[in-house]
Symmetry: C2
């Protein structure tokens, strides 16, 4: 399966795509970062991030998208921007009927290095080794996005394939929000006002 | 000018549109709320909110959008969802080249009631009076969205018209992120990776 990882951020939004399955060698499909200027207004920044992610989804055509789960307890100054960038990534994926998984930084670190408290260098080193790259992907946000994608390939397994099949079936039925169709007699509250 | 206010939230996203100008009577154009079920996955919820806001923008055709500014210091349990819903609202507006203004809850309360610490009932009462409504708009999120729109009409004035003219000129030049074109030799980082 092909997974696109997103390490959300307004200044640097890391993107990385990986192909593989649990127990087999992994292959890097793409890695990069969408940057937006800190002095731009929030609207322009979010629209630029959306455009970057959309282009990636068009080109990479992932089976699933893994986004870092943001916690409010973290750095208060940056957490709002991170939450906003993550919302854009989640919306872009869900709009296409792609399964979206959220993984915490500890889950990703534990999956990649065996240590939920690993530092950025340890994660980067393991990502480089696992994907047999010549050099560590930079910036760290790009390496983190690859780590998220690898984590999802490994943690997902059978669940991933089920979620993908379900998401595709639902997307065919009528696009975003179509999962509500599984509950007879239930009207999607977002559909009216 | 016609302003659409958004009180962002995942469970209830308040929407309200008002027409008017500083020093003149205000008119309510529309009021409502987009709801999403708490047990839906985050992707479906954000997509449903996006669809609701898009439909409003299509129908209401506002000159500007005012969104409540979210602070990380607030209720930690709900603040992430609020930030994510606000990101969707901001992105929808900015994608269309509409000026987006962020107002803090205190700014809105002060503008509407004269007291930055007013409670929800005071705000609702003033909104009802200012828009000459028969009853207080419900839920409170809908009244808050109207209050945001009124606040923006009053606080904006000449600045609003300048921002609108600028946003429209920039949108014509090349869509979202086109404000970068004003800085010669500067390449939009979101454009490459």
């Amino acid at each position: 399966m092909r997974v696109m990882g997103v390490d959300p951020g307004l200044t640097r939004c890391g993107l990385g795509a990986v192909e593989g399955r649990p127990g087999a060698a992994l292959r890097m499909v793409a890695v990069g970062v969408v940057r937006t200027p800190a002095d731009d207004d929030i609207g322009s920044r979010l629209v630029a991030i959306e455009a970057g992610i959309e282009r990636w989804l068009d080109e990479i055509r992932p089976d699933a998208v893994a986004v870092e789960r943001v916690f409010a307890q973290h750095n208060v100054r940056t957490v709002m921007g991170t939450a906003q960038a993550s919302a854009v990534a989640i919306t872009c994926a869900a709009r296409r009927g792609l399964p979206v998984a959220l993984h915490t930084p500890s889950e990703v670190k534990a999956a990649i290095t065996g240590n939920g408290n690993a530092d950025k260098k340890q994660v980067g080193t393991m990502v480089t080794r696992l994907l047999r790259l010549d050099a560590m992907p930079k910036p760290a946000d790009a390496a983190d996005a690859l780590a998220l994608a690898i984590c999802h390939v490994w943690r997902g397994g059978v669940q991933n394939r089920l979620a993908l099949a379900q998401a595709q079936a639902l997307a065919k039925r009528g696009g975003p929000g179509a999962n509500i169709a599984l509950q007879p007699g239930y009207r999607h509250p977002g559909a009216g006002r």
